[in-house]
């Protein structure tokens, strides 16, 4: 729905009345202040200094993981499982995104000319339908699917693929709505049916970006597969949870190192693929520019197609690896799709549905649900505010230097950057529930341990995304300032920071939306909010309560999405 507002505003050229940046800034400060006050601010009641010995015990084990042959073998096997889950999950997300993206565009619901009228109800319904899975964390899907499919690899694949598919659909729809309509019009004029014209005229122009986005989804899937393992889906996360239960830190670190390794590799791969593709696209774009004056010119699409099979070897290889990887992963996990419509699955789905409907709020009633919902918002705000405050400077310090300068100073900078990037990698590779457990040793129970755990995790993710923005930033303004005599910090302050600030904030807001969903996985130790509520309800098998909580999360997510879209609009 948020995009609807955005693109409608674009089209009308007269933006609707909206808050300006200052208004949003004030609102943000107020919200953060409110979150801090609801979490409590008295440090003696927050920090438990006695717990440091346990924390240091955990981190010391980092350097002495259990490397016995049987553990190494197990780790390798389970790593393959986790990667397979992630690959199949991302592939499913991409497939859903291809179809869902088309269904979510304004274009297919609109008449050929003029504004959307008759199609509006259908379009709005589709949007809401896709918003629901987006508001649910993969773990929530996992918990529900286990009740239908039992201990089956499909649980993890669907739990990753469905919510990620809904997100991908939204992104793809936005890409599609941005594609110039000319090619489609030409096909229509030549007599093609409406859907045919759309599928052959418009969709191909956005598929490249979708695939590129799918690589980003793959790296998210890996982290997600690890968390799903913790709730019992198998793979590294599952083993991690097992050694976690008995507090075997040395074994935990064996699995964590494996997670750090694959997560780092996937991040790097995805970055390179996306950067190369963007560079390639920019080249094509220049070509097109040379031939034509405006992008919206009628023949743009054809010219691009005529440029033939452009490509670079790395990209082709990546595509090939994925194409081969999917069936291999399928075989490795012994996926049996027929389990989806087996009698048992149908029967269990029916039972689950009759258990879960209608939703009830439980003994605490609506008031308690509302309190928990507010706690969840406070938790997400706190964690993101902290993550943003840490990640933004880190992203600057950790970025890869653009110049190839030598000398001891440059060397130290490079090493420091490497170390910081590694710290961020660790913080996003270790699943949030593990962070929560570590943090709770030194912070007394309440909102803070959950918030700090999510902050550590999100600082890693955010720092990486912000780092990408920096590395792709046009360096000319800063170089111009330096050439004109400005100092390096001066150039940073007056050229680079202003240029990226808007995008940094936008990324922070995007992670805030994600953080709302993530609050459900740090509900463990004394943290309040909807996550804890969900934990208690699932352990009591109170499915009608679970549904009520999921609906509450849905409402919270919608509110947050709207707010975040509003702020981002004001940043453009």
């Amino acid at each position: 729905m948020t995009t609807a507002v955005v693109s409608a505003a674009h089209r009308r050229a007269t933006p609707p009345a909206r808050w300006d940046r200052r208004g949003w800034l004030v609102a943000m400060v107020v919200v953060v202040g409110w979150s801090v006050s609801s979490a409590g601010v008295n440090p003696t009641e927050l920090v438990n200094e006695r717990g440091w010995s346990q924390v240091s015990q955990f981190f010391r084990a980092m350097f002495s993981p259990d490397l016995s042959p049987s553990m190494v073998e197990l780790t390798i096997r389970e790593t393959a499982v986790t990667v397979s889950f992630a690959l199949l999950g991302a592939a499913l997300a991409l497939a859903i995104g291809l179809v869902g993206g088309v269904l979510l565009t304004e274009r297919i619901w609109s008449p050929q000319h003029g504004p959307m009228t008759r199609g509006r109800p259908g379009w709005v319904t589709t949007r809401v339908l896709f918003a629901l899975p987006r508001s649910m964390h993969e773990v929530v899907f996992g918990l529900l699917l286990v009740n239908i499919l039992g201990l089956d690899p499909l649980v993890a694949i669907l739990a990753i693929g469905i919510p990620f598919g809904a997100v991908t659909s939204k992104v793809f729809a936005e890409l599609l709505d941005d594609v110039p309509i000319a090619a489609e019009r030409n096909l229509r004029a030549a007599g093609a049916a409406r859907l045919t014209a759309f599928v052959f005229g418009t969709v191909p122009q956005a598929v490249g970006d979708l695939v590129s986005y799918a690589f980003y989804r793959f790296e998210c899937s890996l982290r997600s597969a690890a968390v799903l393992g913790i709730v019992g889906a198998g793979g590294l996360g599952f083993q991690l949870a097992l050694s976690f239960q008995s507090l075997r830190y040395d074994q935990m670190w064996t699995f964590l190192w494996a997670l750090i390794f694959i997560s780092g590799a996937a991040d790097r791969w995805s970055s390179v693929v996306r950067r190369r593709r963007d560079a390639l696209a920019a080249e094509i774009h220049l070509d097109v520019r040379r031939n034509l004056d405006g992008r919206r010119d009628g023949d743009a699409g054809t010219v691009v197609d005529d440029s033939g099979p452009v490509g670079d070897r790395f990209l082709r290889l990546s595509a090939l690896v994925c194409a081969l990887g999917v069936p291999v992963a399928w075989w490795w996990l012994e996926v049996d799709v027929t389990n989806l419509w087996a009698d048992r699955a149908r029967q269990l789905a029916g039972e689950l549905f009759s258990d879960a409907w209608p939703p009830t709020t439980g003994p605490g009633g609506f008031a308690e649900l509302t309190t928990d919902a507010f706690d969840t918002v406070a938790l997400a705000v706190l964690s993101l505010a902290m993550a943003f405050a840490v990640a933004s400077p880190l992203a600057f310090l950790a970025r890869r230097p653009a110049s190839r300068r030598r000398g001891p100073g440059a060397m130290i900078r490079r090493l420091a950057g490497l170390a910081l990037r590694f710290v961020m990698l660790v913080s996003r590779s270790v699943p949030p529930p593990v962070w929560a457990f570590v943090v709770v040793f030194v912070l007394f129970p309440g909102l803070w341990p959950g918030a700090v755990a999510l902050a550590i995790y999100n600082a890693g993710v955010l720092g990486r995304l912000q780092g990408e923005v920096l590395e792709n930033q046009d360096s000319r303004p800063a170089r111009t300032l330096v050439a004109g005599g400005a100092s390096a910090p001066g150039a940073l302050t007056f050229a680079t920071v202003p240029a990226v600030a808007g995008r940094f904030v936008a990324l922070g807001l995007y992670r805030w939306e994600v953080a709302i969903r993530e609050t459900v996985i740090v509900g463990i130790v004394g943290t309040a909010g909807l996550g804890r509520r969900l934990d208690e309800q699932t352990s009591a098998f109170d499915y009608d309560g679970v549904v009520a909580t999921i609906l509450a999360l849905f409402v919270v997510t919608l509110v947050v999405d709207f707010t975040s879209a509003g702020v981002r609009r004001s940043l453009r």
């Binding site: 592939a91 490249g208 194409a323 989806l340 792709n472 130790v525």
Partner: protein, 317 residues
């Protein structure tokens, strides 16, 4: 919008991608579409025992030890009962119940509460055997020595916990949550009387760590796990001590799915009861369970657990 966040370069054009990839992806999607059916359950509830007995256990202690020992149990049962037996580990109490409910586990070593939850979700499931010690199981309340809480002998003494922070173990645990909470309420302490929300550490071992660290002032756990940790010497008794051991209650037991017919059930119970401490392998199994022997049990023994479960909301409805 997300797009604009992830693609720093404003240009969006075509990407060459091999056709087969697309074809595979579409095939995957179509395959996945079949899942979205919420059809009526089929009337046919009868399921046959498929020849392989899958056993499970709630993950109440070191999973490595669990896995190693349940392999022994599986081998023993296979030999004595004459069917294929396989152990399938799970990570959470709820997961054990759910796997039992959907039929992925046939015979599970449950705690008191999880066993009741499991039976309530599967018509015709039976509690079939327990250990000698399960007839009189206990929990312990532990507290940091610096909290100044002195040990006491009477349930009413638990009123000192009011105004303190407290952590349970897993929220589905009988000895780590259900019974301690029940004894607390007997002493007139509700969860609202605690300082802040009660914690759920996730496991008995984690409860000990958290109380030792001082994050929580008081913790409640399985007395068997506590005793084992003390014996191992992995608890710092200068920092944490037992303040109260609860009265006894019924706890752990084996629950069988209805596909296991009367005959098979009898053979399994007989095999469990025949575990002999003089045979080295069988002695290992008994030692792992911390028991002298297994005895028969029945659903009725767990009626009071069920009542407590309903009272504190761990059993819905």
């Amino acid at each position: 919008m997300i797009k604009s966040l992830l693609y720093p370069t404003p240009v969006l054009e075509k990407f060459s991608m091999p056709r087969p990839l697309l074809v595979i992806l579409f095939a995957l999607f179509i395959a996945a579409c079949g899942s979205s059916s919420d059809e009526e359950p089929s009337e046919d509830q009868t399921q046959e025992f498929d020849g392989e007995l899958v056993i499970g256990a709630i993950p109440d202690q070191d999973p490595e030890i669990l896995a190693r020992n349940y392999e022994l149990v599986a081998d023993y049962l296979a030999e004595e009962v004459g069917v294929d037996v396989r152990f399938e580990p799970v990570t959470e109490y709820d997961a054990a119940v759910t796997a039992f409910r959907v039929g992925d586990l046939d015979l599970v070593w449950f705690g008191g509460l999880t066993g009741v939850q499991a039976r309530l979700q599967v018509d015709g499931a039976n509690a079939i055997a327990q250990r000698d010690i399960d007839e009189e199981f206990t929990s312990v309340f532990i507290a940091g020595t610096d909290t100044g809480i002195e040990p006491f002998d009477d349930v009413a003494g638990l009123s000192v916990v009011a105004g303190r922070t407290l952590t349970f173990g897993s929220d589905s645990s009988t000895s780590g949550r259900l019974m301690p909470q029940s004894f607390l309420s007997e002493a007139g302490v509700t969860l609202e009387d605690l300082d802040g929300e009660s914690g759920f550490s996730g496991s008995h071992d984690a409860t000990i760590e958290l109380v030792e660290a001082g994050t929580f002032e008081v913790g409640a756990l399985n007395s068997q796990v506590w005793d084992a940790r003390v014996e191992e010497g992995t608890v710092d008794l200068d920092r944490v001590q037992v303040i109260f051991e609860t009265p006894t209650y019924f706890d752990y037991h084996w629950v069988a799915r209805p596909e296991i017919d009367a005959d098979l059930e009898t053979r399994i119970v007989a095999a469990l009861m025949a575990l002999d401490p003089s045979d080295p392998d069988e002695a290992t199994i008994l030692e792992f369970f911390g028991a002298e022997s297994f005895i028969e049990t029945s659903n009725e023994n767990y009626a009071s657990i069920e009542d407590v479960g309903r009272e504190i909301g761990s059993i819905d409805g």
